[in-house]
């Protein structure tokens, strides 16, 4: 029995890692091939000629030279989306409703972590931190934000969702939208009362802003350097760690089994002696703390946050959850990575290929267009709602 559990545990750690690798490589390879084919098709077009005159490279070289950086940015963004999307998908799996306040849970986590780091910065410990200690502080900030966000998520569930659990489906949805607005303005109010600021900027510390050069690509003019920022690596690593951890909890522990059983049939689970309310609270705790940690990672990557910071990432993560198949953990991971990649590709190439007629501001349109197409042909998402696996 004991050996069985151990083997099971190992499997639940390796399996999601394998899936991540497949999703990243698959999505990356697919989009790269599409881009290469497109760039070959566009040879000799107006866009190609424009590139030749302004930058002295043809469109194929241009596409290839930018590809590695686009992939790196896409993967980073994808993991952030995936970490947020898990919050939507877990709650949907258990309660079958969309927790629209999750984007504000994310913003709250970002604020908690950033304020914590700002306080550390004011005491001066961040400036002198060397070696591995910046990572320790980042982990502390992540823990603070997870506690704040997880706690808030549990509180919201207790106050705003539990009383409505047996109401018609739309009622808790509207309650969630209300909570979302309330949280935004509570953050705004708290910030303007305490610091008087609208924007908060994460302090610069450690070596997170350094770039690790990977390789350089010779083009017509100066070579294009491809590098990855330390903080991108940190974001990817932390998100992967959290995703694997969550997968482990849901699929290989007793409480995970309870979550899955509540997701399948709440009443039967209650008959079997599972405390349904407790399990639902725990689900919110898990989803909320993941969202909060994602908030800190987002702030680390993009440096500046404001009380409305949650809206767009929240929207995208929700889309990612639907794209992958809402209620499905693996689906959220796939959806996040695909959406992040799509956005990165569209943002980088759209302007060049349309000769500036559709700039990178149209990247979201392209991403959502693909979502619509996927939903038309696969209404339950790429991976579908796997009931046995939903959590």
């Amino acid at each position: 029995m004991r050996r069985l559990i151990k083997a099971d545990a190992l499997r639940e750690i390796l399996l999601p890692l394998g899936r991540m690798a497949i999703f990243v490589l698959g999505a990356g390879a697919l989009l790269s091939v599409v881009m290469v084919v497109l760039s070959l098709l566009f040879r000799g077009s107006g866009a190609d000629k424009l590139l030749q005159t302004t930058q002295g490279v043809n469109i194929f070289t241009y596409t290839m030279a930018n590809l590695p950086q686009v992939l790196i940015d896409g993967v980073t963004l994808g993991f952030v989306y995936a970490a947020i999307a898990l919050g939507y998908t877990m709650v949907y799996g258990v309660l079958e409703f969309i927790n629209f306040a999750h984007s504000e849970i994310f913003a709250l986590g970002a604020f908690a972590g950033v304020e914590f780091l700002i306080i550390l910065d004011q005491t001066g410990v961040l400036k002198t931190a060397g070696g591995m200690s910046p990572y320790l502080y980042l982990v502390l900030a992540l823990i603070v934000s997870m506690a704040a966000s997880g706690g808030t998520a549990v509180f919201i569930e207790r106050v705003a969702y539990r009383p409505l659990r047996n109401a018609p489906r739309l009622v808790p949805l509207i309650s969630a939208i209300g909570v979302s607005f309330a949280l935004q303005d509570i953050i705004r109010l708290t910030e303007s009362l305490t610091t008087g600021q609208f924007y908060r900027v994460i302090p610069t510390f450690g070596n997170f802003d350094d770039r690790i050069p990977l390789f350089s690509i010779p083009t017509g003019g100066a070579p294009i350097r491809v590098d990855i920022q330390v903080k991108s690596l940190v974001v990817i690593a932390a998100a992967m760690f959290m995703l694997v951890g969550l997968n482990y909890i849901v699929n290989a522990t007793r409480i995970g089994k309870a979550i899955r059983s509540v997701a399948q049939d709440r009443n039967t689970a209650a008959i079997m002696g599972i405390g349904v309310n407790g399990i639902i609270s725990f689900t919110f705790l898990l989803g909320g703390s993941l969202g909060g940690a994602a908030g800190v990672l987002y702030a680390l990557k993009f440096t500046r946050i404001d009380p409305f910071v949650g809206f767009m990432p929240g929207m995208k993560a929700f889309t990612a959850a639907v794209l992958g198949g809402i209620g499905n953990l693996t689906g959220a991971l796939l959806g996040g990575i695909v959406l992040g990649m799509l956005e990165s590709f569209a943002g980088a190439y759209l302007g060049t290929f349309t000769m500036g007629n559709f700039g990178s501001e149209y990247k979201d349109i392209l991403a959502f267009l693909i979502l619509i197409i996927v939903i038309i042909f696969r209404p339950s998402g790429l991976l579908g709602e796997q009931v046995s696996q939903k959590a």
Binding site: N66, Y298, T303, G347, K363
Partner: protein, 396 residues
């Protein structure tokens, strides 16, 4: 439940009556309204536009008080949002005590809001709106005491050219203001032989990764951003972190100490960060020393850009109301008379210059500045180095 609601209503009514009763003595109230973003991302500058006007009303309303008027400030929060601005404008227009509006901060908000002022014959003195359309519509009611973007964009391009810049990538925020100035920058740059490698609008506020990829690949010598600091500073920071070492160039929307808070020392690296503006730092105006001291004593911080311009706008408003009131026999003047009185001012001495309006509502000659960011510390924003000061008449 119902009973309680009735009680609450009754209590509110009683309080309302009590407050109304306090009015007591009959004193004619004249209000000067301000419209600027008091909340949200641009509130740092917007609040000081309100504060500048407030200080002017406190210090300069003496002549009107002597005539038996009580001058008040009515501050409105336009949130930097055209819809809110227009909704506020409707409220402002319906309050007969308001005779002049000082505002806005964003041209994109001023242009639709001033349609309401125009319809009501209500004067609007703008301290900060630089889009040409603000005055090009030829409304008698709308005047401004700052420069225009068609000149400012060109000034930016000429500056880049004198720095020996040969290629530029132009971004804007898709607002009337940002896109407008970016287009003027582009036009003048092409005239001066600067190659424009790209021209793009974006509403992105956080993740500039995918926008930066084509920019960095095309290796421009400068990145120009037409828009506000809240996007520009983040964009510049991420570009530097990705290894871009060229020059950053922006416009008067960049002029806020929050830009240094976001960008920090990164703005000083490489070829540095410059911006053109129509409102120079205090050091550019000898007359502002007292204003700065008073402002700091009252509000506890250095004034943000445009606070002094707002002070002057309110001063112009007060003077115009005074002249119109005298003409009306020391009675409450009509709105159109106030609007005419604003335009009739000749060589009005303000703290940031001497103001005479032309027939469109532009200044006969406006000042333009090129400023170099010299410190990553927000507290030292007003000490940034003035690279150039130009006096240019608006195009006819």
């Amino acid at each position: 439940m119902r009973n309680r609601a009735v009680w609450i209503m009754a209590a509110l009514l009683a309080i309302g009556l009590l407050l109304a009763g306090c009015g007591g003595k009959k004193e004619q109230v004249i209000k000067i309204a301000t419209q600027s973003p008091l909340s949200g991302g641009m509130s740092a500058v917007g609040t000081d536009i309100k504060n500048g006007a407030q200080l002017a009303i406190e210090q300069l309303s003496g002549p009107l008080t002597a005539m038996g008027f009580k001058v008040e400030l009515a501050a409105f929060d336009d949130q930097g949002n055209p819809d809110t601005g227009v909704a506020n404008a409707k409220n402002i227009v319906s309050d007969p005590a308001i005779l002049v509006i000082v505002g806005h901060y964003n041209s994109g908000v001023q242009i639709p809001s001033s349609e309401e002022y125009h319809a009501a014959g209500l004067a609007n003195v703008s301290p900060a709106n630089t889009n040409p359309r603000v005055t090009e519509r030829g409304y008698l009611e709308v005047s401004r005491i700052c420069g225009r973007d068609d000149v400012q964009g060109a000034v930016g391009a000429q500056f880049a050219s004198t720095k020996g810049i040969k290629s530029a990538y132009v971004l804007h925020d898709k607002t009337a203001y940002g896109q407008g100035i970016a287009e003027y920058f582009k036009r003048e740059s092409e005239k001066l032989g600067i190659k424009i490698l790209g021209f793009e609008g974006t509403e992105e506020k956080a993740n500039f990764d995918s926008i930066l990829t084509p920019i960095l690949a095309s290796k421009p010598e400068t990145i120009y951003f037409g828009g506000m600091f809240d996007q520009a500073a983040v964009l510049f920071k991420q570009a530097r972190q990705k290894g871009y070492m060229g020059m950053f160039l922006s416009d008067d929307g960049f002029d806020s100490s929050d830009a240094a808070k976001i960008g920090g020392d990164i703005l000083l690296q490489g070829a540095g960060t410059f911006f053109s503006t129509v409102a120079g730092p205090a050091a550019a105006y000898p007359g502002t020393a007292k204003f700065q001291a008073d402002f700091k004593a009252k509000f506890g911080a250095e004034p943000q850009p445009f606070a002094a311009q707002s002070y002057d706008s309110a001063a112009i408003a007060l003077k115009a109301i005074e002249n119109a009131a005298i003409a009306a026999g020391k009675k409450m003047p009509a709105r159109p008379d106030v609007a005419k009185a604003v335009r009739a001012l000749k060589d009005f001495p303000g703290i940031t210059g001497t103001f005479t309006f032309n027939s469109k509502g532009d200044l006969e000659k406006a000042k333009y500045f090129i400023i170099q960011v010299t410190s990553g510390d927000p507290a030292k924003w007003s000490e940034n180095k003035i690279d150039k000061i130009l006096d240019i008449a608006p195009p006819q």
